[in-house]
């Protein structure tokens, strides 16, 4: 875990309101443990927005890391105004990683919206490790997609409005793939309703699943106790001082589907 000023290499809109930023962060890159980890980003000197913003690592390639972010509010707008050569301050790598995908399963990767970021990172790892896998990417409409629907390559896109790929949510292809593939393992990140649907499905079908969840973060390092989610587990974690809650910044963001609850 480090604080590092990273030089921005590229920063561009890749789909409607969705941006990709690449930067050089050699120190943080050295500490990476795997897909699922995130960075806590500071985008300005001013204290108007005192808190950093957590963003999943979308790719790592030597010293170069990337994030994929959606313009949501003040800070993501500021991020999108950064230019090549500017700096941002990163705290990371933070959080845990997806696991078990190397253990003889068929990983089914599911990304919704900018939840795609850690899923793409996991996809790269599967590719490097030559592990056969499928990936399902959901969005509301084709303009939010920046990857092509390609069933031959096991890349399945869905859109709510049917403008690209399959019409409907990620659940369509997911239900199909779980049946088709031997020994499937689901890895998902996306909006809460999607994660809930994946969770319920995985429990009902008894298919193992890991979900990368979001929560409002103050610090990313266990200081503030702000980032809790209710936890359905008897495994007591000291971080959150009590078994009822789990700190997403330290115990997460990746959880076994069965271990967490949604509000």
């Amino acid at each position: 875990m480090q604080i590092e000023k990273a030089k921005i290499l590229t920063n561009a809109e890749v789909a409607h309101n969705i941006w990709e930023m690449k930067f050089e962060a050699p120190l943080i890159a050295k500490g990476l443990k795997g897909a699922g980890e995130f960075l806590n980003i500071l985008s300005m000197e001013s204290w108007q927005n005192p808190l950093r913003r957590p963003m999943s690592i979308a790719s790592s390639n030597g010293d170069v890391l990337s994030i994929i972010y959606k313009i949501f509010g003040e800070v993501t707008t500021i991020l999108s105004n950064k230019r090549t050569g500017d700096y941002i301050e990163l705290l990371g790598p933070l959080g845990n990683t997806f696991t078990h995908w190397q253990n003889g399963h068929h990983p089914i990767l599911v990304g919704g919206g900018v939840g795609l970021a850690p899923i793409l990172n996991l996809q790269s790892e599967c590719k490097s490790a030559k592990i056969e896998h499928s990936i399902i990417i959901g969005a509301r409409s084709s303009n939010e997609h920046f990857i092509d629907h390609n069933p031959d390559q096991q890349i399945y896109l869905t859109t709510d409005d049917g403008t690209t790929g399959e019409s409907g949510t990620v659940m369509g292809p997911l239900e199909r793939l779980v049946k088709e593939k031997a020994n499937p393992y689901i890895y998902a990140c996306g909006p809460e309703p999607m994660l809930e649907a994946v969770r319920d499905f995985s429990l009902a079908q008894n298919v193992p699943a890991q979900l990368s969840v979001e929560s409002y973060m103050g610090c990313g390092v266990g200081f503030c106790q702000g980032c809790v989610i209710p936890r359905d587990s008897s495994q007591i974690q000291d971080h959150s001082y009590h078994h009822k809650y789990s700190l997403v910044c330290l115990d997460g963001p990746v959880y076994e589907a069965k271990d967490i609850q949604f509000a």
Partner: protein
């Protein structure tokens, strides 16, 4: 005007029976139990660590959402999630033996008896803790702390009860959510507190217009960060004018200049809170930069500048 550019300025101070290396501490609830981020901060550089509030029993805290950013600030309603005094004694006190920084244990309770019990449990074992900060001002628990923080008599009774049970440093932590913070401070002083600290968070609320949702589960939470620095400075200056015990300044400190402002207003030491969330190493950085700042001022030591703000009068 004497200037001491060559030597590092003297930042040492004594409060109660404790000597601190420097007046820059980290605030309760904003630095965990002090052991969370060893890669990012050398805690032995800090003047003191005030640990997260401890209650008699472990507390799970409030449901999320617990925090939200506001303009130059944030609101929290953690609800005193903590490991409870037994685990604190068992797990944390031994760790503190190996740290050279001073540890101040922050205590919270729902009635006088609970505060007493906690303090007695800690006093009954041997440990290196330097003293206690008594949280009578947490806005985020239904029963508890808050009632003391607005009432002089209760504050006095609590202070006396604890004073009679320890020789260690006792700092009463005051709430800004009162008509008259000075009277609560005075009650603490008269009842034997070694110092008061001010301020705890300011009661606030946050709503997202588009969704109509409260951004904090408990509706109200505590506002902290640069937004409240003016409130903290005013509280410290008012207390300084009327009290003779030292004041520990808290609220919105993010730079060495903020530290100096609090000291000029009357704080003998300060605590850094919210800023630690932005940068876990910031307190260490501020200590270095405060050294440089002092070297360029007319003040020979940090102590000399306490309360010396020029108020035009």
């Amino acid at each position: 005007m004497k200037r001491r550019i060559s030597n590092l300025p003297n930042l040492k101070l004594t409060m109660g029976n404790v000597e601190f290396d420097n007046p820059i501490w980290v605030a309760s609830g904003t630095f965990g139990y002090g052991t969370e981020a060893p890669e990012l901060v050398d805690v032995n550089k800090l003047g003191a660590i005030v640990t997260k509030s401890i209650t008699r029993k472990p507390r799970e805290g409030n449901p999320p959402p617990r925090i939200v950013e506001t303009s130059s600030g944030m609101i929290n309603s953690i609800g005193l999630a903590n490991i409870g005094v037994e685990k604190y004694i068992q797990k944390m006190l031994p760790v503190y033996e190996s740290l050279s920084t001073k540890i101040i244990m922050n205590i919270a309770g729902t009635d006088i008896q609970e505060y007493i019990e906690i303090l007695e449990m800690v006093e009954s074992v041997s440990s290196v803790i330097a003293g206690y900060e008594i949280n009578i001002s947490c806005p985020n628990v239904k029963k508890g702390g808050m009632e003391f923080g607005v009432d002089c008599d209760m504050t006095a009774k609590l202070t006396e009860a604890l004073r009679s049970r320890t020789d260690r440093l006792i700092i009463m932590k005051l709430s800004p959510n009162v008509s008259d913070i000075v009277s609560i401070g005075k009650a603490s002083e008269d009842a034997g507190a070694d110092a008061v600290s001010a301020i705890n968070t300011v009661v606030g609320m946050s709503i997202t217009a588009k969704t109509g949702m409260s951004n904090i589960y408990t509706t109200y939470g505590g506002l902290s960060g640069p937004a409240i620095k003016p409130v903290g400075l005013a509280a410290v200056h008012k207390l300084y004018n009327k009290l003779s015990i030292p004041i520990v300044g808290i609220g919105g400190i993010v730079s060495e200049e903020d530290v100096a402002e609090y000291m000029l207003a009357g704080a003998k030491a300060v605590q850094i809170g919210t800023a630690n969330f932005r940068n876990p190493g910031i307190s260490e950085d501020i200590i270095s930069r405060f050294n440089l700042f002092m070297a360029k001022t007319k003040w020979g030591s940090a102590d000399e500048m306490v309360g010396q703000v020029n108020t035009h009068s």
